[in-house]
């Protein structure tokens, strides 16, 4: 999977490295800003109220 992505990135090595870094950043941002905030209230370990 990762080697497939790496093979399909265009350009010489430094450019590919930058692109790979941008991809990783994009995925992490997606997780932090969209996926985790959506997921979090559905998980059973941060409820603080009674009733």
């Amino acid at each position: 999977m990762y080697s497939w992505i790496w093979r399909h990135l265009p350009g010489p090595l430094p450019i590919r490295a930058v692109q790979a870094l941008m991809l990783v950043t994009a995925v992490v941002m997606l997780l932090f800003l969209v996926v985790f905030p959506w997921l979090e209230p559905r998980l059973p370990f941060n409820d603080v109220t009674t009733g």
Binding site: P12, V28, F45, N46, V48, T49, T50
Partner: protein
């Protein structure tokens, strides 16, 4: 460079039969590693990233509350859901421990700061001023609630008054309370009697036990109008778990009108 290499790759002899198996196994391995990384990222998110988000929201809520206190726009008879209603200080957690308490206990409100259970008493009112707060992440206002001792101060500031609550005697302390009662910080704190006899400073209950925020904790059937002014703090227990709730009860021992430039002695003496 890629198009120089690709003819070489293309001219390779046909892959042996085992290659499909190998690349499948590698793909599964990579997926598992990725899943592990995502879980670790989630832990990081819960413990740190939500703190950054919440700190910003808490700052905004505090600024809005200060603005509201300094420039009153008419009297509001009931607090507005999601808006700041008071500030809470717990000197034994450090002199910088202050959180703006908001009205309501839904997920979005609790991400800003501790939330006041709607329909429980307001600060200083007879009954039970009940507040929920996160223990992990989201600014974790109630992270150290388990470290509170009896007689520790919980100071609540409203638009015009300071209310000083103190943690009630813990379970087992009541029998030998005379010794502790002599300490200056325990003035006004005594084991409760009558219908309050079972109310102690700290308990751990099941999430379903909403009677802990009743005007008389543990007795939801008693009328809402009561003589004693209590405070109740709730958070999750154990840390990182949803299994139980940690409950702290305190009693109002003093209140002062606010004077510009002055803070109650409790905020400095206990620190």
């Amino acid at each position: 460079m890629a198009h120089v290499l690709s003819p070489v790759r293309g001219s390779r002899p046909p892959r042996p039969r085992g290659d499909a198996v190998r690349s499948t196994i590698r793909g599964v391995g990579e997926l598992l590693l990725t899943a592990g990384l995502v879980v670790m990222l989630f832990v990081f998110y819960e413990a740190y990233v939500t703190d950054w988000f919440s700190a910003e929201k808490q700052r905004e809520a505090t600024a809005a509350l200060d603005d509201n206190w300094n420039n009153p726009r008419g009297i509001v008879d009931r607090p507005i859901e999601g808006a700041g209603i008071a500030k809470m200080y717990i000197p034994s957690f450090g002199s910088d421990f202050v959180f703006t308490v908001l009205e309501g206990t839904d997920v979005d409100t609790l991400a800003v700061g501790p939330g006041h259970y709607q329909d429980t008493a307001l600060p200083g009112e007879p009954g039970n001023f009940a507040v929920a707060g996160h223990r992990v992440g989201k600014g974790s206002p109630f992270n150290s609630l388990d470290l509170l001792s009896s007689c520790d101060a919980i100071v609540v500031e409203t638009v015009d008054r300071w209310f000083v609550y103190r943690v009630l005697p813990l379970r087992g302390e009541s029998a030998d309370w005379a010794g502790k009662a002599a300490q200056p910080q325990c003035r006004g704190v005594d084991p409760l009697t009558g219908s309050y006899a079972d109310v102690v400073g700290k308990t751990i209950v099941l999430p379903s036990q909403e009677e802990v925020i009743a005007p008389v904790p543990g007795q939801p059937d008693l009328p809402a109008k009561q003589d004693i002014e209590l405070i109740t703090l709730t958070t999750c227990h154990p840390q990182f778990s949803n299994r139980q709730r940690l409950i702290v009860h305190g009693i109002l021992v003093a209140q002062y009108p606010k004077v510009v430039g002055q803070r109650p002695a409790e905020l400095t003496a206990d620190a």
